[in-house]
């Protein structure tokens, strides 16, 4: 029996169609449907309920060092109020999960994948639980407001311009009172657009969501649009585009191996699988994650085999859908080394037929994050 999120009642009132995802019943789409929801996010702002994600607070005297023992990210160098994308790696150099981490001052605030939260909690408690307190933030909802009008819509709920999340830049976070609710807000998301992720008490979530939806720029959006938006944005989904057997280098996530943690860095290594990952960084991976653009109108979905011009196996599609902004099917997958150059012609086997696809640069839709203008 799937659990519900604090917004289940509101979703029903908004005409949601539900799907079970990682044991949680969530809207796959609302009355608008996936295509319109997708396009509305790119054009204005979409409100997603992502309360199924795992929210975790990690506390302790040496919390940054403890997290660095599990992940190749630079947590020691993460300033208070800043957020970072990170990976938990394993001894084989594979990815146990990907997550977002904020240095929240006194602690680190993590958002981990719904399907991996039990695993991640056990992993952290087992490895760093001696020196750190790992607190699962049950009783908190998580909403994502995504799209170019997000900042203006969210600012309307702020008590003053000085106290508005509009002042945040991409990958920064802070506490704000919005519509009367205390919220922990980061300027981040999973659509390739400007946007915010808002953590708040479950009991405050529905009223907060209703206030946002009163703004005509904001429409509810479901998991269907979230998936097609993130594929267009070239962003990985754990369990589809990477897993415990995927090296970060082949996944194109080498940026999550911080300079300080690489060979010659200030705190080189010291995370699971460092030697394997360093080897891949130095020698290149045997396969590479690439964008795939099908030539026709037929969607090419995860699981489809990729073949080269000779019909030999070239790799596999890991995610694919119809990209409403791209105006056609878009996909990503892994190809063997040597085939990753954009423009490489391949075939994808769909229902027994080989459809032409072309290797394409990711993302399909340019990212439009609200970055700082100075570096």
């Amino acid at each position: 029996m799937a659990t519900e999120t604090p917004l289940a009642g509101l979703h029903r009132a908004l005409g949601a169609k539900f799907v079970d995802f990682a044991g949680v019943s969530l809207p796959v789409h609302f009355a608008d449907g996936i295509l319109r929801e997708h396009l509305h996010v790119r054009r204005a702002a979409g409100l997603f309920d992502v309360s199924h994600m795992g929210q975790v607070a990690v506390r302790g005297g040496e919390v940054a060092a403890a997290l660095e023992s599990l992940s190749p990210a630079d947590f020691a160098g993460l300033a208070a109020g800043r957020q970072r994308y990170a990976l938990f790696t394993n001894d084989a150099g594979g990815i146990e999960d990907d997550f977002m981490a904020v240095n929240a001052g006194g602690h680190f605030y993590l958002v981990v994948n719904a399907a991996r939260k039990e695993h991640d909690l056990a992993h952290m408690r087992g490895r760093i639980g001696g020196g750190c307190d790992i607190q699962y933030l049950a009783g908190r909802a998580l909403l994502a407001l995504q799209g170019p009008q997000s900042a203006a819509a969210l600012a309307q709920l702020a008590e003053s311009p000085a106290e508005s999340p509009e002042r945040l830049t991409f990958l920064s976070a802070g506490e704000f009172t919005l519509g009367g609710a205390r919220c922990f807000v980061s300027r981040s998301g999973y659509c390739g657009e400007d946007g915010f992720e808002i953590s708040l008490r479950a009991e405050d979530a529905e009223q907060f969501a209703r206030r946002l939806l009163e703004d005509s720029r904001v429409r509810p959006a479901g998991l269907g649009a979230r998936d097609s938006l993130r594929i267009e944005a070239g962003l990985c989904l754990y369990g589809s585009d990477m897993d415990a057997a995927t090296n970060p280098v082949e996944a194109g996530l080498g940026f999550a191996v911080a300079k300080a943690r690489r060979p010659g860095g200030a705190r080189s290594g010291g995370f699971p699988g460092a030697a394997v990952i360093f080897d891949a960084l130095a020698r290149g991976a045997e396969r590479a994650r690439v964008g795939l653009l099908p030539a026709g109108r037929a969607p090419v979905r995860g699981g489809a085999e990729l073949v080269d011009a000779d019909g030999a196996t070239a790799g596999v599609v890991t995610s694919g859908t119809f990209g409403a902004s791209a105006g056609g099917p878009v996909a990503m997958g892994y190809v063997r080394a040597g085939l990753q150059a954009p423009g490489t012609a391949l075939g994808a086997v769909v229902r027994g037929r080989t459809l032409p696809v072309t290797v394409a640069a990711l993302p399909f839709t340019a990212h439009r994050y609200h970055r700082t203008t100075t570096n």
Binding site: K17, V28, G33, D227, R297, P299, R301, T321
Partner: protein
């Protein structure tokens, strides 16, 4: 005189003399969501009752269209290549998928009539 009948897999067939028009039901299109692609059979294809004849794909999933009847495809709705959404907006009309010459017209009698199909959909919630 034409009559429309249904399958428990949510296809419809409208029979006229020895031919039939085939599509998916309004309930089926609603379950799938907005269609982005329809894979049509080829004119001349032999189809059998219950066998896969076409594929309808929404953003989230692909669904197979099983032929409600046996026979030969005589015409396909090529307009769906550019406008698969016609199946969503008018599943029983402009969203038809193919026409066929029937090889076993008596199969039509085994399909569900409108009352039986509506009862099945109502039971599905």
């Amino acid at each position: 005189m034409s009559e429309t009948r249904f399958t428990s897999d949510h296809e419809w067939a409208r029979k006229e003399n020895g031919t039939a028009v085939v599509g998916i039901t309004d309930y089926a299109q609603e379950q799938l969501g907005e269609l982005v692609f329809v894979e049509l059979p080829a004119v001349g294809d032999a189809v059998t009752k219950g066998g896969e004849a076409a594929v309808v794909e929404s953003v989230k999933a692909a669904g197979e269209v099983k032929s409600p009847l046996s026979g030969t495809v005589t015409e396909v709705n090529t307009a769906l290549a550019d406008d698969p959404g016609a199946v969503n907006s008018d599943a029983a009309g402009a969203g038809w998928i193919y026409k066929m010459q029937l090889s076993a017209p008596q199969e039509f009698d085994s399909l569900l009539d409108a009352d039986a199909y509506n009862a099945l959909v109502a039971a599905a919630g």
